[in-house]
Each structure stands twice: as C-alpha cells, then as structure tokens.
C-alpha cells in the first residue's frame, strides 16, 4: 500500500482546520469517503477533495504536500500512525496528539505540540511561539512524548508544560519554560530573556549560560548521574542531542517566586 497523500491544490486564503486528517480517523475509509469529508475553511466548510489532490490508500502513513502556514491542527489528537508534512504547517501542529509520529519538513506556527500527551514530533525547521505550551484556559501544556526541533523556536516554549521532552537545536525566544510544571527542555542555541519565569518544577538543559533574573539561584557545579541515563536514552534519536554525553553542569534552581523546584542545568 502506498502512503495516503494529500497535495494542496492552491495556497488557501483562509485557514484550514486539518484535524480530521489523522490515521485513526481515516482508517477503513474509501477515497471517495475521504474526499467527502468537510474541513472548516475560514467561515465555511469545504470538501477535502476540493482542497487537496488525494492519492494512495495507507491511512497509517499520511503525507501532506505543499503544506503552508494556513493548515492548522495537523495531527490533532492522533492516536497512531505517521503524518509527514512537506512545506510548512499552521498553528496547533500535533495538538493534543496521543501516539504516533508526526514529521514536518518546514516551519510550524504557534502552539505546536500543545497538549501533546505521547508519540513523537520532529520539526525540520523553525516553530512559532508557545511550543509545547498550554492554550489559554488550559492548566497544562505538553503532557508527554518527544518533540525535536532542528531550527529555532519562538517565545514561551514549554509554558505550563507538565511532562515530556522537548529538544531544540537552535535558539529560543523569551520566557522559555515559563510556569513550567515538569518535564525536560533542551536548547542548544541561545535563549531569550526571562527564562524559567514562574517555573515550578522541570529541567531546562542549556549549552550557553542564559541571562537569569533574580529569583533563579546558583546551586553550584555538579556531576549529575541522571544525565548519562538521559543522553543514553537520546542516543538513537535523529537529533544533534544524540551525539552528546555530558554530565557536568552548573545548576540554577528556581523560580523561587513560584516554589523554586525547577532547575536550569548549563553544561560546562
């Protein structure tokens, strides 16, 4: 069986809600049934076959070509299978995904991996603000799984993140790990201002010393045994993080204004 492929016919003027296009939702549907599914497109509903050319049959392996920043909610609540997007994605990429694999060859907009509870996400490009964060009104951001970003990420990475691992090979913006509840965020590049603002628990791994605000306190240099385990678990990942094996860090704890059990580990 060949991959179920959706090729966007023309660049849309309005945003498209792609949440129905997941493996579990399309399994055992014929091409005609898939084409007849209606997607929210701006303020109206449009059939899938009016927006995309459809080819292939394997709903477990979905490929989207000509992706763009208007395609929202790709992989929404997906419970398995694989989605590969070529060209870019809009907001809420992998929103609340539970299992499976989602890969993007391009850039994603805001709230990627928001509410993600499991599975893996690999973004070969940049991602907007609020990666792995909670949407307004939610109390928890990402709740599990793995996110790899090869490019840069915007502001508020991991805001209210509860569990899981986010690995960013590029730079991140301001308020990284703000109000973070738990989990692990690794950033190889630079980080913006107000890192760990309101951070409650969780671990932030950095390769460059950040600018710290007053309620993040230096706990000294340490050799932490868990880092060996962590890098060992990263060893098979398609990421630069797989090439490291370090366990010597400068440890900062905070945010003391919010319980102060979070940690920022800077490799030395």
């Amino acid at each position: 069986m060949s991959a179920l492929t959706f090729t966007l016919k023309t660049a849309p003027q309005q945003r498209i809600d792609c949440s129905p296009l997941t493996s579990d939702n399309l399994a055992e549907k014929s091409a005609a049934e898939i084409g007849a599914i209606e997607l929210q497109h701006g303020n109206r509903k449009v059939r899938v076959d009016a927006l995309f050319d459809i080819a292939g049959t394997d709903a477990n392996d979905i490929v989207i070509h000509n992706g763009c920043d208007k395609l929202d909610y790709i992989g929404h609540s997906m419970k398995g299978g694989r989605i590969t997007v070529h060209g870019g994605a809009g907001c809420y990429f992998g929103f609340q995904m539970k299992k499976g694999e989602i890969v993007l060859h391009g850039n994603a907009d805001a709230f990627a991996a928001s509410g993600m509870a499991g599975g893996s996400m690999h973004i070969h490009g940049n991602v907007g603000d609020f990666l792995a964060s909670a949407i307004p009104g939610d109390r928890k951001g990402m709740k599990g799984g793995l996110v790899i970003v090869t490019g840069n990420a915007g502001d508020r990475v991991g805001d209210q993140m509860r569990r899981g691992i986010v690995l960013i090979e590029g730079n991140v913006g301001a308020y990284c790990a703000s109000r973070m509840l738990a989990g692990t965020i690794g950033v190889m590049g630079s980080v913006g201002d107000y890192i760990g603002y309101g951070m409650r628990r969780g671990t932030l791994l950095l390769f460059n010393t950040p600018k710290l605000h007053a309620t993040l306190q230096d706990c000294g240099t340490h050799t932490l045994p868990f880092l060996k385990l962590m890098f060992k678990s990263f060893s098979g990942l398609p990421s630069k993080f797989a090439t490291f094996n370090m366990n010597r860090v400068q440890r900062y704890a905070g945010d003391l204004a919010n319980d102060g059990k979070g940690e920022i580990l800077v490799f030395i």
């Binding site: 671990t203 932490l224 868990f226 060996k228 385990l229 060992k232 059990k261």
Partner: protein, 298 residues
C-alpha cells in the same frame, strides 16, 4: 552412581516456589558497588529468620549497566510478594540510599512491577525530582554526596528457592575445600545465588525440635558427632558434612547450578576425602520442585 570415587545418593533436593527480584547496583567503582550490595544482602541467608534470601549474582561491566558505571547484580528471594516488597524497600533505604555514589536500577524487565525507589523519593523532602526516559521513571533524590539516582520500579517473578546438595567428607577441611570449589563453579551460572556465608551452610536443619518454640533444629542425622546416638545417615568414615543452598529464578537455573557445583566437588574426588553427595528433602511432601541428583548428573 559414582563420580570420581564420590557416591551420588539416589535422593533429591526439595525446593519451594518463591518470589524473586533482581536489582542492579552501580557506583563510582566496583568497590563501592560491592559496599552497597554487601550491605543490602547482609543478614539474608534464610527466610526462616531474615525475611529474604539474597546474594550477589555477578559483577557487571560498565557496558552492561544503565548508567555506564561498574556495578553488581543482586538477587533477592522471599516466600511471598509482600515480604519481598517490604524487605526490598527497607534494604534499599538503609543500604543503597546510604552508600556513597551508589545508584539502583531494575534488573528484571518483565514480571510484576514492584517498588524499587518509589517511596525512597520522600527522603528528598520535596526536593526530589522525577525523570522519565525510555518509558522508565527515575528518581533523583538530593543527598549529601550529590544525588541518589534510582529507578522507580523493578520486576518481580516467580522463582525457586531451597535447591541444595550436601557434601560428605572425611574431614572438615576437605568438605570445605570441596564446597569452595563448588561455589566457584556455581558463581558462573546466571540467575542463581547461594545465600549462606560464602555460599556454604554447616547447620543444615530438620523440621521441628524437642523444644516447642523452635520450628527447625539441627539435622542430627547428618551430624558426625552424633553418629553413635541418633539414627544417623553417615557412614563411619564421614567426619564433616556441609550443604550448599541454591535459589534461582527458574528450576532450570537451579538445576544447572546444582550440576556445576556437584561436578566441581566431585572433581576433587575420593582421593581428597570427598565420599558422598546427598541432598535435603522433606519426603517430597512440602516442596513444589524436586531435583533428583542422579538425573541432574546423568
């Protein structure tokens, strides 16, 4: 059956179903891994009074341990899951948590998942940190030497305890030499421990006693100094008897260890004073497993 002049009795060892678990203990170097493991497996010779039977299974190369440090594998057995879980937690808390640089990990992937470091985390008084990698949860507990790292759970499986054989010799030094040779050979067999001091027990017991408060007492039939005054199992030339008790994860493991041990003891042979190999049983009425010596050595 006679091997190298040593008579193999037509009898069997009677063993029981137990619950077993394995813990991998690592440390900065092997010396400190042993310090933790020796403490953890101390006072764990017999379930009669120790709660568990425990021992060091083998040394582990850094490449075999989760954190890439040298370590040892500890096996622990008990008659029931509740006792095993309680003893594991207690011994982890007092012997591994306390040992400088030591860390503890699950040594059995399958089986029922039981707490390894789950409750030890509370020693961290709120400063403990949980981390999940590769589907496993670990706890980082801040301690005075840095951090104590432990996996949250380990596996508990059905196991076999109480496999045994007796070495009957013309003198005490000869019996001990044969047992030492047997233990050296048996240590190479995976999934088993010999829980008594040095792997050898001299005070084999029988069920019951003339004293009402005791559930077990000396096995007078195998005590050489009582040959003339009890219903003895010993011939006149036997002056010393020692026993090796084996606990293993499966009956096949116990069988392999029994074979390796008896073969090593028999290698010394009759010329070194080793006269007989026997085994302890309860008439086959109590234990689930029977290890017939002649079948094993055939």
């Amino acid at each position: 059956m006679i091997i190298n002049g040593v008579a193999i009795d037509d009898t069997f060892a009677e063993a029981f179903g137990m619950r077993g678990t394995r813990v991998i203990i690592t440390a900065q170097n092997l010396k400190w891994a042993y310090n933790a493991a020796n403490a953890m497996t101390g006072f764990a010779t017999s379930v009669i009074a120790c709660g568990v039977e425990a021992g060091i299974e083998r040394e582990l190369e850094p490449s075999e341990t989760p954190d890439g440090r040298p370590g040892v594998a500890v096996l622990m057995f008990a008659m029931g899951s509740a006792v095993l879980m309680k003893q594991l937690e207690t011994r982890m808390g007092q012997c591994v948590l306390t040992c400088p640089t030591a860390a503890a990990f699950s040594g059995i992937e399958g089986g029922d998942r039981i707490n390894l470091g789950k409750n030890l985390r509370f020693f961290g008084d709120g400063f403990q940190i949980s981390k999940q990698f590769g589907g496993k949860r670990y706890w980082r507990v801040p301690v005075m030497d840095g951090e104590f790292l432990t996996e949250e759970k380990t596996g508990m499986v059905r196991a076999v305890g109480g496999g045994n054989f007796l070495v009957l010799a013309e003198s005490q030094p000869q019996a001990l030499a044969a047992c030492e040779a047997a233990i050296e050979a048996m240590k190479k067999i995976p999934n088993v421990i010999m829980p008594f001091p040095g792997g050898v027990v001299r005070s084999g017991s029988k069920v019951g006693s003339k004293y009402k408060t005791l559930i077990a007492s000396t096995n007078d039939a195998f005590c050489p100094t009582l040959k003339g005054i009890t219903k003895t199992d010993l011939s006149p030339e036997i002056e010393s008897v020692m026993e090796i008790v084996i606990d293993g994860l499966t009956d096949e493991d116990v069988r392999k260890a029994t074979r390796a041990g008896i073969a090593a003891a028999c290698e010394l042979g009759a010329k070194n004073g080793i006269k007989r190999i026997s085994a302890g049983n309860y008439g086959g009425k109590l234990g689930q497993f029977q290890f017939h010596l002649r079948e094993i050595m055939a």
